[in-house]
């Protein structure tokens, strides 16, 4: 796989995700402040920022795991439904990968991947099983297919969780710190899977502090602080010459570690 794919070659006209003047409160806390963001087809956007800046919240509003107080969220130009079958149908098209994997603990790895297509999309079991095995092979955990989640390493679990999302053929994938619960030696195996996905043209919104990942595949870095987007920049420029003071401070603080 060629990791040097030129991003401008992708058909990047179609907007997949759009947030307009999104505001979110947790009680008194103003968690998201006038968020405006557009993600085009095939784009990889990295969300970065200090702890508590609202990255997870932003990510979770996109498939409405968190509701918003005002503003609009559009998926392929359509307003995000409030609930019911419509919302469920939309969530089925948005993949989400969590920091803590969240594989279904009572189901084998294979069943974890098959459940969505079979129970939600009502696709035939045999066909789904075959495809699931191919997906598991692609992320390198096909030999673990019959095991239960707790029997796998963190890195294997996270790759299986990515396969579970992929089985739904999502239009966009959200990653909320997918590697920050992993031991250092497992981080790369998960990042490799994500890099491959990005190179294949998957639209991705990724909360991560992995600078190498951002530099290799991100089209844009979105820097958040105190619930607001402070800076949007190319990864190269953001990491070498950030425009905002807040970003400079933030990068200094993480480079010190």
């Amino acid at each position: 796989m060629n990791s040097e794919v030129n991003v401008t070659e992708k058909d990047s006209d179609k907007t997949i995700v759009e947030l307009k003047h999104v505001e979110k409160y947790y009680g008194e806390l103003h968690a998201l402040k006038d968020i405006n963001l557009q993600v085009k087809k095939g784009e990889v956007v990295v969300l970065i920022g200090p702890s508590g800046s609202g990255k997870s919240t932003l990510c979770r509003t996109i498939n409405r795991l968190e509701s918003i107080n005002s503003g609009e969220i559009l998926i392929e130009g359509k307003k995000l439904p409030e609930g019911g079958a419509e919302l469920a149908g939309l969530r089925a098209e948005i993949g989400m990968v969590f920091q803590s994997f969240n594989l279904f603990a009572h189901k084998s790895i294979l069943d974890n991947v098959c459940m969505g297509p079979v129970d939600v999309l009502h696709r035939p079991k045999e066909e789904v099983k075959k495809e699931a095995m191919e997906l598991l092979k692609r992320v390198g955990v096909d030999s673990q297919a019959q095991k239960m989640p707790a029997q796998l390493s963190g890195g294997q679990q996270q790759r299986a969780a990515i396969a579970r999302s992929l089985a739904m053929h999502p239009k966009v994938m959200l990653f909320d710190e997918p590697t920050s619960a992993l031991d250092p030696e497992m981080i790369q195996e998960v990042l490799d899977v994500m890099i491959e996905l990005a190179n294949e043209g998957m639209t991705m919104i990724v909360v991560t502090h992995e600078m190498n990942f951002a530099r290799r595949v991100a089209n844009r870095v979105v820097f958040m602080a105190d619930g607001a987007i402070v800076e949007e920049n190319t990864p190269e420029e953001f990491f070498t010459a950030p425009k905002s003071e807040r970003a400079k401070e933030f990068l200094e603080s993480i480079n010190r570690h």
């Binding site: 795991l65 469920a88 089925a92 989400m96 803590s100 969240n102 009572h106 939600v120 239960m148 739904m168």
Partner: protein, 275 residues
């Protein structure tokens, strides 16, 4: 040794050598005291002639054991029926209680608290004395099993609810994010995990159900206790028969606990390798 040790420290800390010695000493002394007490009781029984042959010889007869066996079967039937009913009713109460719809939620809480607070005997009397007056004639097994089940249902509901609450919230989020509706999230993801967490606690509730079926004698359902009472009046042998009944009840509940341990192992989220 440091002062200022709380009860909590004493309970959860590894005891040091001195404390261990003390524990051993207290254990030996109290065991001795218990032994002396038991011997004293036995002596009382002996003085009363409770060990006379006439109180024990009928245990040598096959008919006695057949009669006890019939009673045991009655106990098992009544317990199973009551257990299944308690699980069903408890499940309904729990679902009501965790529902987002306020009136349903409040009704679930009220029913749970009510059934937990009222003694089993009152439910038995209600079904034995009042329900027939309303023209409803239940078979005698239902007259004991239904009230026992209702009495246990609140307890079961609470156990099930604690299991549901123990499922990490990420499980629900992951299920929602692949497009499941709330009902499916509950039936396919949350509840199957919850039940695995609470199997041992549910079996403890079943032990209470088994013990509560001894109220069968009130409604004339032939369970172990009822048949024991018949034996007692036939042979005028109070102590020996009650002792035998107690031993059988202990065995039943011991067996239940064994089953619970096996189930908990098998139902765990990690399967036994090679299965």
């Amino acid at each position: 040794m440091n002062e200022q040790r709380t009860v909590r420290d004493a309970l959860y800390e590894q005891p040091d050598a001195g404390t261990r010695k003390k524990i051993t000493l207290v254990t030996v002394v109290s065991l001795f005291a218990i032994a002396v007490f038991m011997l004293y009781i036995l002596k009382l029984f002996k003085d009363n002639g409770q060990f006379d042959e006439k109180y024990w010889s009928f245990f040598m007869r096959l008919t006695t054991w057949k009669f006890i066996g019939e009673g045991l079967l009655g106990t098992v039937e009544a317990s199973l029926l009551a257990g299944v009913l308690a699980l069903l009713i408890g499940f309904v109460f729990m679902v009501m209680r965790i529902s987002f719809y306020k009136p349903l939620n409040m009704a679930g809480t009220a029913l749970t608290e009510f059934t937990r607070g009222v003694p089993t005997l009152l439910f038995i009397y209600f079904f034995f004395l009042y329900v027939p007056k309303m023209g409803i004639n239940l078979p005698s097994i239902w007259r004991v099993s239904l009230p026992v089940a209702i009495s246990a249902s609140g307890m079961v509901a609470e156990v099930l609810r604690s299991g549901v609450n123990a499922v990490p919230k990420g499980q629900r989020e992951a299920a929602l994010s692949i497009g499941m509706r709330e009902t499916m999230v509950f039936t396919k993801i949350i509840f199957p995990q919850a039940i695995r967490y609470v199997i041992p606690a549910l079996v403890s509730d079943l032990v209470i159900v088994v013990k509560d079926t001894t109220f069968s004698y009130i409604v004339n359902f032939p369970d172990l206790m009822q048949n024991a009472k018949v034996l007692i009046s036939n042979y005028d042998a109070l102590l020996s028969v009650y002792l035998m009944a107690a031993v059988i009840y202990v065995l039943i509940n011991y067996l239940l606990n064994k089953v619970s341990v096996t189930l908990a192992k098998r139902g765990g989220m990690v399967p036994v390798v090679g299965r």
